[in-house]
């Protein structure tokens, strides 16, 4: 009888070794193939563009680092790009893009950022994997497919990290945001861009609720740590990580701090103040669809056996929400409905 197990388990094991995602042989082989040829050239162009945009100098070393290839291979890529008249290098200015190279780089970046936006708004792919998926997709989409995608989404101007999506004609606005660390203490800024690499840092930043659109205030800045308040919560980050947040200074009041719908106890009620800026696109619209707009009275009605989801009383209906959604709804307890009903952001009288 044992022989039966062996005769079945062994082939299964072999198959697993071959096909297992990420660590299987097939996967690794595909990755090797990917790292050759066109893909490498396109990634190289993107790096050169990135350096130009962030006003840094590109070099063979920086290229090798980004492409994860040996220096010699990176040099080959550069030589090939120059032969294609996509890049030029001079002793004093380092490697730079030519007009044709910039156009090509913007084309790839356009696909990359459109795809990230598509993943963010229309799929359940986790935030930390957007970049990786888009890295793959950017080399495959045809010009036609790209335009269809863009049109379907209403020609979005920004990707989910806050970066501008180049237009089909290759237009991008000049960079306007600063690293968080450039703010003065107590100055307010709105997050415009969250660097999505390295993934570990990005994961920590978004776990802390630091998304594009969120208002932050720097409370302390020194060599060891950066302290800040965002959405009413206090955070402490190492300066290296804080440098991955790009903000632009704003002249506004700091809102909050607010509790979230998830903090409500059974039978407790509150009013909705707003939906967190971290919740965007379709997901945000769905929450508003069920009546979760500023001023709506809500109460916690029941808890499921597993504790998540919970059901809330919203405008006469009992509606179940999962925890990660409830956390996006910011509330204020014990407030008169009328006091919140008139939000400063909305005025009925105003007409054009």
């Amino acid at each position: 009888m044992v022989s039966f197990f062996i005769s079945y388990l062994v082939p299964l094991l072999v198959l697993a070794l071959l096909l297992w995602p990420r660590s299987g042989y097939l996967w690794r082989w595909r990755r090797l193939v990917r790292l050759s040829g066109r893909v490498l050239l396109e990634d190289g162009l993107k790096h050169l563009y990135d350096c130009e945009y962030r006003r840094r100098t590109a070099s063979v070393e920086s290229l090798a680092g980004v492409l994860e290839v040996p220096r010699s291979r990176a040099a080959e890529v550069l030589i090939q790009l120059e032969a294609m008249r996509m890049a030029s290098s001079t002793v004093e200015e380092g490697v730079a893009l030519t007009a044709a190279g910039r156009e090509e780089a913007l084309r790839i970046i356009r696909i990359h950022r459109l795809w990230e936006r598509h993943l963010a708004e229309r799929t359940g792919v986790s935030r930390v994997r957007w970049h990786e998926e888009a890295e793959r997709q950017e080399h495959h989409l045809s010009a036609q497919e790209t335009e269809t995608l863009s049109e379907e989404m209403g020609h979005p101007a920004y990707d989910p990290h806050g970066d501008p999506i180049p237009t089909a004609n290759g237009e991008v606005p000049p960079q306007s945001s600063l690293p968080l660390t450039a703010l003065n203490e107590w100055e307010l800024g709105r997050i415009e861009h969250v660097e999505d690499e390295p993934v570990e840092v990005y994961q920590r930043l978004i776990d802390a609720g630091l998304h594009p659109g969120v208002l932050v205030q720097l409370t302390r800045l020194n060599e060891e740590e950066v302290r800040l308040v965002a959405d009413g919560r206090h955070h402490s980050l190492p300066p290296v990580m804080a440098g991955n947040l790009f903000v632009y200074p704003v002249d506004e009041e700091m809102p909050g701090p607010y509790d979230s719908l998830d903090d409500l106890e059974l039978d407790e009620s509150a009013q909705v103040v707003r939906i967190s800026p971290a919740c965007r696109g379709l997901e945000r619209r769905r929450l508003m669809d069920i009546g979760l707009v500023p001023g709506t009275a809500v109460s916690m009605e029941m808890r499921s056996p597993t504790g998540d989801p919970k059901a809330y009383q919203i405008r006469g209906a009992t509606i179940a929400l999962r925890r990660h959604q409830a956390r996006h709804i910011q509330i204020e307890r014990g407030l008169d409905e009328r006091a919140i009903g008139v939000q400063p952001t909305v005025s009925v009288e105003e007409q054009v």
Partner: protein, 475 residues
């Protein structure tokens, strides 16, 4: 560069530059303004003075059926009661229908055929093949469906199903699936094809695919006759007579629950491999409980569901009946086609704890799972060369008692293992052809249709194989 621009071009140019300053959340802000205005205007116009909040009664029921300790046991209990009522209630009318359609009407047809002088092969094909398949499907399917669908619709109308979805959502979320999959799964207990259509309520394409692929693990009504019969003969038979009904119902419920567990496991596996992603936003309205309108429910569920599903089964039973009759009556080298297939697949069937008859039955029953049991009985008679049972080669028949069925099966070499594996395989095998076609129509993808069709067959064989090996190891 000073070029004469029309006003339109100037506007579009201006738009191009403004779009960058409009900010990322421009669209969201716009929607929010709109919805906030709508809410305020509605609040001013609508008064709800006559409308009380939630009734205390509703609240009490809700707290009970979603409570931490009682929520799941109550669901199980509800499921058992529904199955038990269906099993017990369907027995008698099924027997009556069989007597009427098979024992009374069929001989009339036969004598009619003889009177107008039909050749034997034509009357055999029409009456013993096609008509009998139809008669069997009607007598086996109509009574349980006429009981199950109204019961199910009553629960649905009462408002219990959304609570089931609410209770199960925690598990679906961990499996990376959509909370409304609980609803489509519940629909699948009725009919998988209908349930696949109902997955339209899930608007994330990834989660909808998961719901479609795993829907097959919800035991549809076409498969209960198999479950119920086998459980009654082989598992109910192990218990003392007065407990037999309950034990059989419990066995069927266990298989159904296994199906639910598989739904979670496969959803989980899919959302971590080929359909990678996070659970999307989910909001589920839990409507107030409504006293069910019993008569209307019975009427609409009989018209809308029972008859439609029954009609489909009958339509598919017609060619299947013809195939069975032909396969059993066309002889090649002294053996019928059916026997060739059974002998050929027999050894493989034995390895996975089934047999060639069951495998052939599942091939013939691809159009409709309902005809699995009659096909098995008929083919068993054929290969075991039993005398005195049934009416001969290729005639689908309904022996009058469970005892007779049991005897036929034991004579065909059936053991408790065969029965157990048949119940498992009946839960985990390819969807019927209508469901496959529906999956294709809904997904518009040959790839996912293939996955949804083949994944369960492969799983079924693996499960049966493992059970068979373990069984033989310990016996």
């Amino acid at each position: 560069m000073m070029q004469e621009h029309t006003p339109s071009e100037k506007i579009l140019e201006r738009v191009g530059s403004l779009r960058w300053t409009a900010g990322h959340d421009f669209h969201d802000e716009l929607v929010e303004s709109l919805y906030t205005d709508a809410a305020r205007i509605a609040d001013r116009a609508v008064t709800r003075k006559g409308e009380r909040g939630r009734f205390d009664m509703d609240r009490t029921i809700d707290r009970l059926v979603t409570s931490r300790w009682l929520g799941f046991p109550l669901m199980l209990l509800m499921l058992t009661i529904v199955f038990w009522l269906t099993i017990e209630g369907a027995n008698y009318p099924s027997a009556m229908l069989a007597t009427l359609l098979v024992d009374t009407i069929r001989p009339l047809f036969h004598s009619g055929a003889t009177a107008i002088g039909l050749p034997w092969w034509l009357s055999g094909l029409l009456i013993d093949g096609i008509y009998l398949a139809m008669a069997w499907v009607i007598s086996v399917m109509l009574p349980p469906m006429a009981i199950f669908f109204p019961l199910f619709t009553l629960l649905e109308d009462f408002g219990y199903l959304p609570r089931v979805a609410f209770n199960l959502d925690g598990l679906f979320r961990r499996a990376g699936a959509h909370g409304k999959q609980a609803l489509t799964m519940a629909m699948g207990f009725g009919c998988n094809a209908a349930a696949i259509v109902s997955t339209r309520v899930i608007d994330s394409p990834r989660e909808r695919l998961i719901a479609i692929i795993t829907n097959n693990f919800a035991l549809c009504n076409g498969r209960w006759p198999t479950q119920i019969l086998v459980a009654t003969i082989f598992i109910g038979g192990l218990a003392p007579a007065h407990l037999a009904g309950l034990v059989s119902a419990a066995a069927v419920v266990s298989v159904a629950v296994l199906g639910i567990v598989l739904t979670f496991v496969v959803s989980w596996a899919l959302s971590r491999t080929v359909l990678k992603g996070e659970a999307s936003a989910f909001s589920l309205e839990l409507p107030p409980y409504r006293p069910p309108q019993i008569l209307r429910t019975i009427y609409t569920s009989v018209i809308d569901r029972t008859l439609i599903v029954l009609w489909r089964a009958v339509v598919f039973a017609i060619p299947a009946g013809a195939v069975i009759w032909l396969a059993s009556n066309i002889q090649v080298a002294d053996l019928s086609l059916a026997e060739h297939f059974i002998n050929f697949t027999g050894p493989f069937g034995a390895v996975v704890g089934l047999n060639g008859v069951i495998l052939l039955a599942y091939v013939i029953a691809i159009p409709a799972n309902e005809i699995v049991i009659p096909t098995i009985l008929m083919l068993t008679v054929l290969t075991a060369r039993l005398s005195g049972a049934g009416d001969g080669a290729g005639v689908m028949f309904e022996p009058d008692s469970l005892e007779a069925n049991a005897e036929v099966l034991r004579a065909g070499g059936w053991t408790l293992l065969t029965a157990l594996n048949l119940m498992l395989f009946s839960l985990v095998h390819n969807p019927c052809s209508t469901t496959i076609y529906t999956i294709y129509r809904e997904t518009k993808s040959a790839k996912w249709t293939t996955v949804a069709s083949l994944l369960p067959v492969v799983m079924g064989f693996v499960m049966c194989f493992v059970v068979a090996q373990v069984w033989r190891l310990f016996s």
